[in-house]
């Protein structure tokens, strides 16, 4: 029991207890600089659910999360499969692809803000092959996907490593047997490899979803939530509400709703696992 105590107590004290405070704050109107702190019950929530910006922010978050999940996992898987070949130099590629994970998210975002500028590196490169690049971060159609791309390139290395490790646990005999039966690599991948690494896929799915809904720094440094509310994801909306509009109660309500969404999506993924993950869970 003592083994588990420090960690558990820590998580409770630093994660759950503050969250309990946050729930309490969300039932109040709190303006720190004036010192006003008044109980208003569920008013923050009623206001939130009739606030068009909230819905815009929610859809931005969900779109962002979905896009990030799809691109991150599929690119990670493709790269892991490619790098699972025993070829010389794969460890160098592995390091290169993993390297953005190590760079601070602030530095990474700043560099990409230069590259994505209307006359930045990306458009300069496109100009060389005759394409007139769009205003990546200024056009509503491209802003969200640009921020997704920045975040995908930052984080895909970690998932690639997870998939790589899982792939290396797939016994070679099974794949060889499938090949002898006439299955092509594509078929054998889907019928044999994927089911065998399904637990890892589930885990990365859950962790990536959680991470994608908490993305903050790239939005702040690249788009400031714009254009319009295209990239005004919930954590950024929360931040502006708390620190610019100075409404800590309202911001806490946003935080509670965000947690509920993350929890809901996680539980959804966890309980759907019986459908497609066959290992003992």
């Amino acid at each position: 029991m003592a083994f588990v105590a420090p960690q558990v107590l820590g998580v409770v004290a630093l994660g759950l207890v503050p969250f309990a405070f946050v729930i309490w704050y969300s039932l109040n109107e709190w303006r720190p600089l004036t010192g006003a702190f008044n109980f208003i019950g569920l008013d923050n929530y009623t206001q939130l659910f009739s606030d068009p910006t909230f819905y815009a922010s929610l859809s931005a978050s969900l779109l962002f999360g979905a896009a990030l999940l799809v691109f991150n996992l599929s690119i990670a898987m493709v790269l892991a499969v490619l790098l699972n070949q025993r070829l010389r130099g794969t460890s160098a590629f592995r390091t290169i692809i993993f390297s953005p994970v190590v760079v601070s998210v602030v530095a990474w975002s700043i560099v990409w803000s230069f590259l994505l500028a209307p006359n930045g590196g990306i458009n300069g490169f496109l100009a060389m092959i005759g394409i007139d690049g769009p205003n990546w971060l200024g056009e509503p159609g491209t802003a969200l996907i640009s921020v997704v791309a920045v975040q995908v390139f930052k984080g895909v290395g970690m998932n690639m490593v997870l998939f790589l490790a899982a792939l290396q646990g797939v016994p070679a005999e099974m794949k060889e047997a499938a090949q002898l039966d006439g299955a092509n690599p594509w078929r054998s991948f889907w019928s044999i490899t994927v089911p065998m690494i399904a637990p890892t896929i589930l885990l990365t799915c859950i962790l990536t979803t959680i991470g994608s809904l908490e993305v903050f720094a790239p939005v702040q440094l690249l788009t400031g939530g714009g254009p319009g509310n295209a990239t005004n994801v919930l954590p950024y909306f929360l931040f502006r509400t708390a620190f610019v509009s100075q409404q800590f109660g309202y911001a806490s309500a946003i935080g509670v709703v965000l947690f509920a969404i993350i929890l809901g999506l996680t539980l959804l993924q966890w309980f759907s696992r019986r459908r497609w993950v066959h290992d003992e869970v």
């Binding site: 003592a2 083994f3 105590a5 420090p6 107590l9 820590g10 004290a13 207890v17 709190w30 303006r31 720190p32 600089l33 004036t34 010192g35 068009p52 910006t53 815009a56 803000s113 230069f114 994505l116 500028a117 209307p118 006359n119 205003n135 990546w136 971060l137 200024g138 056009e139 509503p140 802003a143 702040q220 440094l221 690249l222 788009t223 400031g224 939530g225 714009g226 254009p227 319009g228 509310n229 005004n232 502006r240 708390a242 620190f243 610019v244 509009s245 100075q246 409404q247 800590f248």
Partner: protein, 428 residues
């Protein structure tokens, strides 16, 4: 393991108890000398050294009231966010620098302490020396005074003469003061330089979509204001503002002004690749002789010449535990003698100090003519960016509403939608 488990539990418990005690603690005014703190956004060593010097002198004169004064820069790049965090966490400074954009709001919400009686009763303070235009934004309706506007820095136009010459354009300083000195002329020159040598034409460095007011403020010379004087009616959809924003779009389309997106900063004037930049005198500090530059007053728009000034005030926070001592220090910090010292860095609001010798110290790289024409002639009549008593509640909605304009969207649609979304909030 047992020891660490107990330690963690004890720490947590202490934290929770302490936190709740802090929240509940009222303030019994402590007797005896107090420690004052001032929050500010500058970490400049020169600024801090001067402030500390003045602070120490005050302590020496009032040892029974104040035992020490410390100046604590808010390290968060977003000053208000950092200050709010600090205060939310229970650390309330006695005094704080206040940006002008928050002035009206903070005055209205009672965040700032009225120091008028202290200022009036301080001998030798000379309240009348302070320009009415400067202190106007910091006064209450009942004549209360909520801050001393210690920095009054007009916006001017920096001109890169090297680039103008490279593009074969004429010297612009010669038309200043004539009818030809307009935004259109400047934009035309900017477009010409951009086409000829590829450098940026006219930039407004502070402008990003999040900081939209840095652009809308220039609309005053088109006669455009974002809202009515009482702040309750949205005027972003006025014909003047629409005309101004369309003019802006035209300039971007022809290359006279750069496209602005996201949170990306525009190139700095000091880099040498910008022909005209709308900025304040602090920008001159980064410039040197490698560049042939001039600092001019702002050009006129269709509705005439509308000088704009950026301000910063220093206030006592109403939540301070020591408002009287803090007010006394504020009066001391900003009395005529110390105001002259502060003027080394910040253009003062005191008429007696608005002369070339004093200001030369704050802007060593500016010539006397530049100081006269851009600062001294401007400060008494300039207006600050439009403030609104509930600005922080709707600034993000304005950002979202105006965003389509910066990439060429329909101006009328955008401003109409913006006014619709903020009207419920500003009508109050």
């Amino acid at each position: 393991m047992r020891a660490s488990r107990t330690k963690v539990a004890a720490l947590t418990l202490t934290g929770l108890i302490a936190a709740s005690l802090t929240a509940c603690a009222g303030g019994t005014a402590p007797s005896g000398p107090v420690e004052l703190t001032m929050a500010l956004w500058s970490s400049n060593e020169g600024h801090l050294a001067l402030l500390q010097q003045i602070g120490d002198a005050f302590v020496a004169e009032h040892p029974d009231e104040v035992s020490s004064i410390s100046f604590e820069p808010v390290t968060n790049p977003d000053y208000i966010a950092g200050l709010t965090t600090q205060v939310a966490g229970g650390n309330v400074p006695d005094l704080a620098w206040i940006p002008e954009s928050s002035a009206l709001e903070f005055v209205n919400e009672g965040i700032l302490h009225d120091v008028k009686s202290t200022l009036e009763s301080t001998s030798g303070y000379d309240l009348n020396d302070i320009l009415p235009a400067a202190i106007g934004g910091w006064e209450g309706d009942d004549g209360a005074i909520y801050a001393y506007p210690f920095s009054n820095s007009p916006f001017g136009l920096y001109v890169n003469n090297d680039l103008l010459a490279k593009a074969g354009q004429s010297d612009i300083a010669s038309i200043v003061g004539t009818d030809a000195y307009t935004w259109q002329t400047v934009a035309d020159l900017g477009a010409a330089v951009h086409t000829a040598v590829g450098a940026e034409g006219l930039t407004v460095p502070q402008f990003t979509p999040t900081n939209w007011s840095a652009l809308t403020m220039l609309g005053t010379s088109w006669g455009a204001e974002p809202w009515s004087a009482d702040g309750k009616t949205c005027e972003l959809n006025s014909p003047e503002m629409v005309e101004y924003l369309k003019w802006y779009q035209d300039q971007v389309a022809r290359g006279a002004m750069p496209e602005v997106t996201g949170s990306i900063a525009s190139p700095a004037f000091a880099g040498g690749n910008v022909t005209f930049a709308v900025a304040q005198l602090s920008t001159s500090g980064a410039l040197d002789d490698s560049l042939d530059w001039t600092f001019l007053p702002l050009p006129a728009g269709p509705a005439g010449y509308a000088p704009i000034i950026g301000q910063a005030g220093v206030s006592v926070l109403e939540r301070s535990a020591n408002p009287q001592q803090a007010s006394d220090f504020l009066a001391y910090l900003t009395n005529p003698e110390n105001a002259a010292l502060l003027a080394q860095f910040f253009p003062p609001p005191r008429e007696s100090l608005l002369n070339v010798e004093t200001l030369q110290k704050a802007a060593p790289k500016l010539s006397a003519e530049e100081i006269q024409s851009v600062i001294i002639d401007v400060v008494p009549d300039a207006t600050v960016k439009a403030a609104n008593p509930v600005l922080s509640q709707f600034t993000d909605k304005v950002r979202a509403g105006l965003d389509p304009i910066w990439t060429g969207g329909d101006v009328t649609e955008a401003v109409t939608a913006t006014c619709e979304s903020i009207s419920p909030i500003i009508e109050g």
